[in-house]
Symmetry: C2
Subunit: 302 residues, 2 copies
């Protein structure tokens, strides 16, 4: 991790902020997800199992940090943050299924299809995606209805075939293939980057200028996030990750580490970090949380 990355975290202040927001988004999701005693009970219980109680909530934190930069109203930031977390949760449930990554472990617990069954996991993912759009289409969420439609459109594009689902499809076809760094980057821009970018844009849905700067930040930090993920897959153990370590390397998937080597992958992550920070240059202290989050994302590994 670069010195600059370290200097951007003014712990404990940032960690307190992050912890507060993590607890808050958990409460928001608690309220948003249908109660487990409402029919169909198994589906609702499995949706709550999959979307609550875990993860660093990086996407929600990015949304809240962007919301602070743009003075977005709290309830709109909550809707944006929960919508991206619901989409993320759905993608994990489907990604863990036997026909995809076939992973038994997620956030230190049995993955949804292991705890329930494949059919339930399929429906859980489907229903979590619908719920994300239900949250963002709540009547009178924004005073400016056009702005609300724009949020919905950002999320739909980020989730779809030229966003997250498209990235997953490229990933499927990449197994066992020798990708160039450019091809790998295209895949991750869609697979992980699109939703991370959406998280920032939903939080920053204020002025155009802010959206443009936030977008450049989000693009770079989204890619850095994936590079770090690939490094973690090699360096961390299963307990720390809360998911099976060495999975990508073992399944012959191209990663930043296999393409660039560990040392260059770390250099590349640092470059992306620097570019993300540079994009925030026009802003003063109001972009502090976004800077700190960039450092936080980097600090996950080294």
């Amino acid at each position: 991790m670069s010195n600059q990355a370290l200097s951007n975290i003014s712990a404990p202040d940032f960690l307190t902020w992050a912890k507060t927001k993590q607890i808050h988004i958990e409460q928001v999701l608690e309220q948003t997800l249908p109660p487990a005693d409402i029919a169909p009970q198994t589906l609702h219980s499995a949706m709550r199992y999959s979307a609550l109680g875990g993860g660093k909530r990086i996407r929600a934190l990015l949304c809240y940090a962007a919301a602070e930069l743009c003075h977005t109203e709290n309830h709109i930031a909550d809707a944006g943050a929960s919508a991206v977390e619901l989409i993320h949760a759905y993608s994990l449930v489907h990604d863990d299924m036997p026909c995809m990554d076939d992973d038994d472990l997620r956030r230190g617990k049995p993955s949804c299809h292991k705890q329930y069954d494949d059919a339930t996991a399929l429906l859980v993912g489907d229903a979590l995606q619908s719920l994300a759009f239900e949250v963002l289409s709540a009547p009178r969420l924004c005073k400016n209805a056009s702005q609300q439609i724009s949020m919905l459109n950002i999320l739909a594009k980020a989730a779809g075939s030229t966003g997250m689902a498209g990235g997953q499809a490229i990933d499927l076809n990449a197994v066992g293939k020798a990708l160039t760094q450019h091809e790998l980057e295209t895949m991750h821009k869609l697979k992980t980057g699109a939703l991370i970018q959406a998280a920032v844009l939903l939080g920053a849905h204020g002025s155009n200028e802010q959206i443009s700067a936030a977008s450049a930040y989000a693009k770079n930090i989204g890619l850095a996030f994936q590079v770090i993920d690939d490094i973690l897959d090699v360096e961390a153990d299963t307990q720390t990750l809360g998911k099976t370590a060495g999975k990508d390397a073992g399944s012959n998937k191209p990663t930043y580490v296999t393409i660039l080597g560990l040392a260059h992958a770390k250099d590349h992550a640092n470059q992306l970090y620097e570019a993300a920070i540079t994009a925030l240059a026009p802003f003063g202290d109001e972009a502090r949380r976004l800077r700190e989050l960039a450092s936080f994302i980097m600090r996950r590994s080294f």
Copy 2:
């Protein structure tokens, strides 16, 4: 089929209208779905394979018929019709997968996971759902942005855990169980009825009075549709259906036919039809297509 049901179809006028709309929605979907030569090609090709070229497009027809009643602008009716057809197509792709109904045949062709593979089918369904919300969240679709948000909210609720996905979950748990008619009806109200109702409401997003009448019509015709489906499963052959006949009966699923018997199931369908027609009583000739569609849905079987 009752005499009244027959008298409501003034063929060939209705059939010409229906055919025109079927061709039209196919063209709209052709334009809406990403081209197969845009990356990720396999995913886009599989999405087009699953959403184009088949089906009676009952949901689109209901949307267009409701749009005529409420003088909804054409491009809004197109968006509503394609959004419900995309959600319907996604549900069929996921429903056919091995962990669900495990059906190899759909609309007379190999189902998506047979033509491609399970992982692709999973992503096709996911991306078709996102695309439905992308279509409805197009910038400036409606002059009244609040109305557009209301359409998005109707679709999200109809697709989610207390709509279509919820109905699928109840269906999963119902296999091998003795359901009452009321329980069966609750299941189908969610599984099939919610999206059929959404199709009508998206078309009829005009005045509140019209939405309320259209909603009662849609509720009844949605259930009638399912009763007919259960009758067809027993009476029709695989070729006529374009999907595996006798599937529900064979898999020990409760149906209207197993609960009520064939004759009473037909009576029940007729009662639901009459109730749907009655709900349209306040309207004159402008509700003609909705009446004709009700007859068309009834005529599918007997």
